[in-house]
Symmetry: C2
Subunit: 497 residues, 2 copies
């Protein structure tokens, strides 16, 4: 076996262990009886320890060095795999065990404190734990960027979620988006005032919602032979193997759209999972590349496709048939409702337009927290000030403010920007698909999504990690991630409607 | 860490891996999308290989030798654990890798051939593969009994499923049971003729059946905080951890009793699983002891409890309420139906009385196959002859005869007798409980099963593997497994009714 083949074999072994851990997680979220939770943690820890030992073994370093020395003999895909294996191996071996352990303990405590603090609307309870997590995250960032000249500490974190992304490059793009949103907001609010949400409320039995969700998921290309949809409190999508992608959703029997758009979102993630190259499973070429690209797939199907008039021209008659209680609601009224803008405190409840303001606020604050220009103790004040300046109304208490998200308690700084990157990429990829696919709009108008899916498969899914997110966007759209595609899309929806 | 503690730690690690494999299996039977099957096999193989390496490591032999040398310093429970660990270690290390590999290949092929042969009712297609499996099973038996004077080859196999059981001891017990069944059959058939099965048939929606099954399962003590019931083609019960026991069932919407008695059966297994000592999880003291004891728990709740008049006096009114369509059927008629005897070709469809004839037939034939007194080519003839002499009618084709069960294709000789052992033990344990529990019948008459369950917990579940099945039966009932308890139970039901 050549060194390259040894890396392939080890990668597959790790992917098998990783996917087994994913089965355990999925089961925990869906069907695990309550009393089984403690032991499940032990099973997860055992698998994770087995995988860590196999992933950080010194022989991998030797195999990598040997492959890197003989790079000329490898084909481009093999070279990309070696580059990504190196990335994974360095990440897995750069952090001293002591730091990993301290981080695990600190984030576990911080998460607990965060839950309590949020419940009691009392930031002070959370503050010391967050300070500890921040200090350790700094250490982690320094380990990750050691020897990498010019890589900032914050970018070292960002790189965990969005390889190669840099805050410096994101700032002007996000600023352009922010300005556009602020400019669009009054028009969007004026339109949204006409939306009569109460007229959508009704009786939507879960079984009917499941039927409708499933029909739409199949129509846009989700393969139920290689996937399924279950019910959980917090919806997600996870890949348990090369032909096994599981989505979840939750149901509101007074309003079918919350589950429906949730399912479209998860189906977008799921199509990416099902579109990865099964023959490359266990190598980087068969893996998803970043959170920002993943989110672009979910947002594209949820928003660019799923909130469009073209989509509902096809699907509204079916919705009326399935649910039997939409007769009184015209499609135009329905479209107004599902596209309405409603600024609110909470990110996860936000509409398409203001969602990005929530992200930009977090992006700015987490950089300030991280570089020390904002003390943790001053976070609530800074949050509230920024929020009011962006949204035009004041935060009432910290659980509707800086205590609403779990991310920072877990040390996940650099994570938030990938949500807006996903929105930007979605709009940009959708525009590129429209440009490159002949008869694109005619296809969508007849409910034929196969051309779009094939284009995404070829330009996104099947690339795996052979290209960086930036390279992928350039290859697929000719340009790096830019603001104007999303801005045009939002402008068309809210200013030119 | 002492050698004993090292064995405890390794045992726990193996139990964690084993339970993880059980999650994968459970998921495969319940929710795995069809296209995920191939990769699931790879996950299972990886876990199994990891576990095998850890279970057969030479250091275990050293730790065991050290503990065995210092046996005096161990308490009785620790000594029992060491004895059972030795048993497991020897079993895991006695078979040469070559033989394990050949057996895996041969049984995998034989299973495939068996499926085809059964479908086409053509024994010849299966014969060569079964011959191969038999030859390898012989080799396996010889490895297992090496150095164990007086252990017959067949008993070495039996011991895999029922530790310490011997064919010589089972024969007279089974013979007594067989004679009694043959004697009872005419009376049982005469009573059963009065059962009007069609009057039970109706419309039993699955959701209603789930509700009724769940109510009964909870009433007899199944803890849904530490377990659940799902739907599969072939019902089973599996433990995924110390507080996580999963049952499955299937539904016939024309007859609620098939799922109901199936659930009582699996709940019996599940109560055993939930009754194992969680604090001893991963050591033999926290594990189930044998198939014959396991089956006694399922049969006791399914038959001794679940088919009794006392049970339905409590539950028939509820059944009538839940299903709303049993008004016309009196409880006495219902009891006749669910206790009816209907001799048939197929073991898994058999009633309480003739079920054991199916087992005794297989027990006799597999011993003859194994000692060479019956050639595989002559199996169909021998089967059919024996069947007709026992049941009084002829087998129409081999798929209703010697091709009906999967067991032999898997090399599982010595497995069948544990089913009848389960029936015998169930009757015997139930009699002992009745004798030892004050007010036993009054409790059951009011639907209070807590006394019986507590007695089973103390005398069966919590024993784990500290006692052999024979020791367990003697400790709980004062006698080894005997025929007369089951015989009396059947006689009372069918001859004295």
């Amino acid at each position: 076996m050549s060194e390259y083949e040894k890396l392939v074999a080890r990668g597959r072994e790790l992917a098998v262990l990783g996917s087994t851990a994913s089965v355990l997680s999925w089961d925990q979220e869906t069907y695990l009886p309550p009393a089984g939770v403690a032991f499940r943690a032990e099973q997860m820890a055992e698998l994770s320890s087995l995988a860590h030992t196999r992933a950080t073994a010194p022989e991998i370093g030797e195999w990598l060095a040997s492959c890197e020395g003989a790079n000329g003999k490898l084909d481009p895909l093999q070279r990309a795999n070696v580059r990504e294996w190196r990335r994974d191996y360095d990440k897995a071996t750069r952090l001293p065990n002591r730091l990993v352990k301290e981080l695990t303990e600190a984030t576990s405590l911080a998460r607990e404190r965060w839950v309590a603090a949020r419940q009691e609307r009392d930031f002070e309870q959370f503050r010391p734990a967050l300070e500890k997590v921040l200090a350790l995250t700094h250490e982690k960032a320094d380990c990750l960027r050691e020897g990498k000249d010019g890589l900032s500490a914050y970018d070292a974190l960002l790189d965990e979620y969005e390889p190669g992304a840099e805050a410096e490059a994101l700032r002007p793009v996000f600023a352009e988006l922010r300005d556009a949103i602020v400019e669009l907001l009054p028009a969007a609010l004026a339109i949204s005032e006409q939306a009569q949400v109460n007229r959508l409320r009704g009786d939507y039995p879960q079984a009917k919602q499941e039927e409708f969700n499933r029909a739409a998921a199949m129509a846009i290309g989700f393969d139920f032979d290689a996937g399924r949809i279950d019910t959980t409190t917090h919806p997600f999508c996870t890949g348990l193997g090369p032909r096994d992608v599981r989505l979840t959703t939750r149901y509101d029997e007074r309003d079918f759209t919350s589950s429906f758009f949730g399912v479209l979102h998860e189906v977008g993630h799921g199509l990416y999972g099902q579109g990865l190259r099964a023959d490359a499973f266990g190598t980087p070429a068969g893996e998803d590349v970043s959170l920002g690209i993943h989110e672009s797939q979910s947002r594209l199907w949820e928003n660019q496709v799923g909130r469009s008039e073209a989509f509902w021209r096809v699907w509204y008659p079916t919705a009326r048939e399935v649910f039997g209680n939409l007769e009184g609601l015209e499609m135009d009224e329905f479209l107004l409702i599902v596209n309405r803008v409603e600024p609110s405190y909470i990110r996860v409840e936000a509409d398409e337009l203001t969602y990005n303001l929530h992200i930009i606020l977090r992006f700015e604050l987490e950089q300030a927290l991280f570089d020390g220009s904002l003390a943790v103790a001053d976070l609530p004040g800074a949050w509230n000030e920024k929020f009011e300046s962006m949204f035009g109304f004041a935060v009432d208490h910290d659980s509707n403010g800086c205590l609403q998200d779990v991310h920072w308690s877990l040390g996940a700084l650099g994570y938030f920007p990938t949500y807006t990157l996903g929105n930007l990429n979605a709009a940009q990829l959708f525009d590129a698909a429209r440009e490159q696919i002949e008869g694109f709009d005619a296809q969508l108008a007849t409910g034929d999504y196969s051309g779009l899916l094939a284009w995404l498969r070829e330009n996104v899914h099947e690339k795996g990690r052979t290209l960086s997110p930036d390279e992928l966007m350039r290859a697929a759209t000719g340009r790096p991630t830019e603001a104007h595609h999303l801005v045009s899309y939002l402008r068309q929806k809210y200013a030119e409607a």
